[in-house]
């Protein structure tokens, strides 16, 4: 079966004690019950933390853009204005919920939920660490692609149901953009799956190391290009500038969520910010070493035997180090995404499609073949290994 967060916790002593106690008092085998409870708690924590990350994303966006434009940004609510997103959230809840008279009510109600559901379902496989991931599904990457395609439907339906020209154009652009850019993104991911030897995030991350030369991005020349293609595609899939045509504010008012107010709008915004985080996380897991910590500092054996921590805290500390590694890399990428948004101008629609079909897709295809060739010919060794080996051979082979 797949490794899950429950597998991690059930390996610990307190968990087994609790299971035994519950079994004794309830009179039946409590393993299943405890599994469900653990999953529920883990899901609850992750969904709430990610909602918080989405909120902080809006704050980061405003603060970084302000920094780039030599402004102050939000600075009134809380220290450095960090509570601004909470104030915004309260404002969103208090706002009047306006539904346009001629809108398609049912779809208008469903569309933001579809967006949210699609994004939050991807969190099930996002590898925060080797133990704290909800599940290391054996088709992890593929599942993530499948579930996140629901977002496209949500955006399209949001645009359609508003019964407004701007929303309509935005929704159509969104759907066509997401479908188109899924092709180069998927091809880049397949190249990494080839290197990692599995669709499971655990396999892919496990094939990398903690230090940059062990990451897949620097594995061989093809993977560098693959990363760039993936990153551009991910920007387009999350409708971020310079690909924010579905919500181009200077031409389409606000695109597919023009007519949405209050919490419905907040759902769309939250879905977008969380999706950016998720795709940055996927980029980190596939290319930047994922949750690997340099020098294997997170190894339980090292923490337990060499440093002398008790077993329980050693495992938890190792996992926390891994989460720290993953989240810091993801946040760095998140910064780059925001940086790009406030640097580059928006593309035209025809340029967008040209970039996808005439440049990114062929490049991704050639890349896939190149990576396959590399794996076959060099036995999957990274170029640093090859360089080092040839250097060592030139020095006499010692």
């Amino acid at each position: 079966m797949n490794e899950t967060v429950v597998t991690f916790f059930s390996g610990s002593h307190p968990y087994q004690v609790v299971t035994e106690l519950l079994t004794r008092y309830l009179g039946f085998n409590a393993t299943g019950l405890l599994t469900v409870v653990t999953f529920f708690v883990a899901c609850f924590v992750i969904v709430n933390v990610m909602a918080l990350v989405g909120g902080l994303g809006t704050y980061a966006e405003r603060k970084i853009s302000a920094d780039m434009q030599m402004r102050q940004g939000p600075n009134r609510v809380g220290p450095f204005g960090i509570l601004q997103f909470l104030a915004d959230g309260v404002k969103m809840i208090m706002k009047e919920d306006i539904v346009p008279k001629d809108s398609d009510k049912m779809i208008f109600f469903i569309a933001p939920i579809l967006c949210m559901a699609g994004v939050f379902a991807t969190l099930a496989v996002l590898p925060f660490s080797s133990g704290f991931t909800l599940t290391h599904l054996n088709i992890g990457v593929f599942y993530l692609l499948g579930v996140s395609s629901v977002v496209g439907v949500g955006i399209f339906l949001g645009g359609y149901s508003s019964n407004s020209k701007w929303s309509m154009i935005g929704g159509m652009r969104g759907a066509s953009q997401i479908i188109s850019y899924e092709v180069p993104v998927t091809l880049s991911i397949i190249a990494m799956v080839l290197l990692g030897g599995g669709l499971n995030f655990k396999d892919i991350v496990g094939a990398q190391g903690g230090l940059p030369h062990q990451w897949f991005i620097f594995h061989n020349p093809f993977t560098v290009i693959s990363f760039i293609v993936f990153f551009i595609g991910a920007l387009a899939e999350t409708n971020r500038a310079p690909f924010d045509l579905p919500e181009a504010e200077s031409e389409l008012v606000s695109g597919y969520h023009t007519e949405f107010t209050g919490m419905r709008f907040a759902f769309f915004a939250l879905a977008e910010y969380v999706e950016v985080f998720v795709l940055c996380g996927v980029a980190v897991a596939l290319y930047l070493g994922g949750y690997q910590v340099p020098f294997e500092l997170s190894d339980t054996f090292l923490l337990h035997n060499k440093i002398g921590l008790p077993l329980g805290p050693a495992r938890i500390l190792g996992q926390l180090l891994e989460v720290g590694g993953f989240v810091s890399k993801t946040c760095a990428l998140y910064y780059v995404v925001i940086w790009i948004r406030w640097t580059l101008p928006r593309l035209r629609v025809d340029q967008l499609m040209t970039l996808c079909w005439k440049y990114l897709t062929p490049i991704a295809l050639i890349n896939l073949v190149g990576v396959a060739f590399w794996v076959y010919y060099f036995d999957g060794e990274s170029m640093w290994n090859l360089i080092f080996k040839s250097g060592a051979a030139a020095a006499g082979g010692h």
């Binding site: 079966m1 299943g32 398609d104 779809i107 088709i139 499948g146 395609s149 629901v150 899924e182």
Partner: protein, 178 residues
């Protein structure tokens, strides 16, 4: 117990979604209900531990086919129930034609045969089987696709290439002759 829960919920999702598709008068709504039905089918695949198939169902149908259908409905105008015949009954294109009735009767007969064939198996007392222990199907599918079923694989790829070239041909900008 969890397997049963998963099966019942996804089966209910599939059946209710399909019923809603049939009973909904609005094409756009029908397409949205189809989404739930397709997600339910993917859940059914999960209960059969066909993990790869389930994810493929999501990628292909939810991400691709449904959006395509939504586009098609939207661009063709979809839901204008203006056409009413002289009795005030909504006119439906293939209604009231000997040919279509014959076709419908024949296909209904065929469907009935297929369904009764399925139901006969259900009513027979088959000993309750056990699913084999879970193992990943991705490798097996990959192997079979390029060994036993390589012909089907290649034919479908040629078909898709044809569709791609056709789409490019239709969408390519034409030179305006002046």
């Amino acid at each position: 117990m969890f397997d049963n829960f998963l099966f019942i919920s996804s089966a209910a999702l599939t059946v209710c979604g399909a019923l809603a598709v049939v009973l909904s008068p609005n094409l756009m709504h029908a397409c949205t209900y189809l989404l739930t039905s397709l997600i339910g089918v993917s859940g059914l695949y999960v209960t059969l531990s066909a993990d790869f198939l389930a994810a493929t169902q999501l990628v292909v149908y939810v991400g691709g086919v449904v959006i395509l259908m939504l586009f098609a409905i939207m661009l063709t105008g979809g839901n204008d129930n203006k056409s009413v015949n002289k009795f005030g009954i909504e006119k439906i294109a293939p209604m009231g034609n000997i040919k279509t009735f014959t076709l419908a009767g024949l296909s209904a007969l065929l469907m009935a045969l297929v369904i009764s064939k399925i139901i006969v198996n259900v009513t027979k007392a088959v000993p309750k089987g056990e699913l084999p222990p879970f193992s990943s199907t991705v490798e097996k599918i990959g192997e079979l696709l390029i060994t036993d079923h390589v012909l089907a694989f290649e034919i479908s790829s040629v078909l898709l290439l044809g569709a791609l070239i056709g789409a490019a041909l239709i969408a390519r900008p034409r030179k305006i002759e002046s």
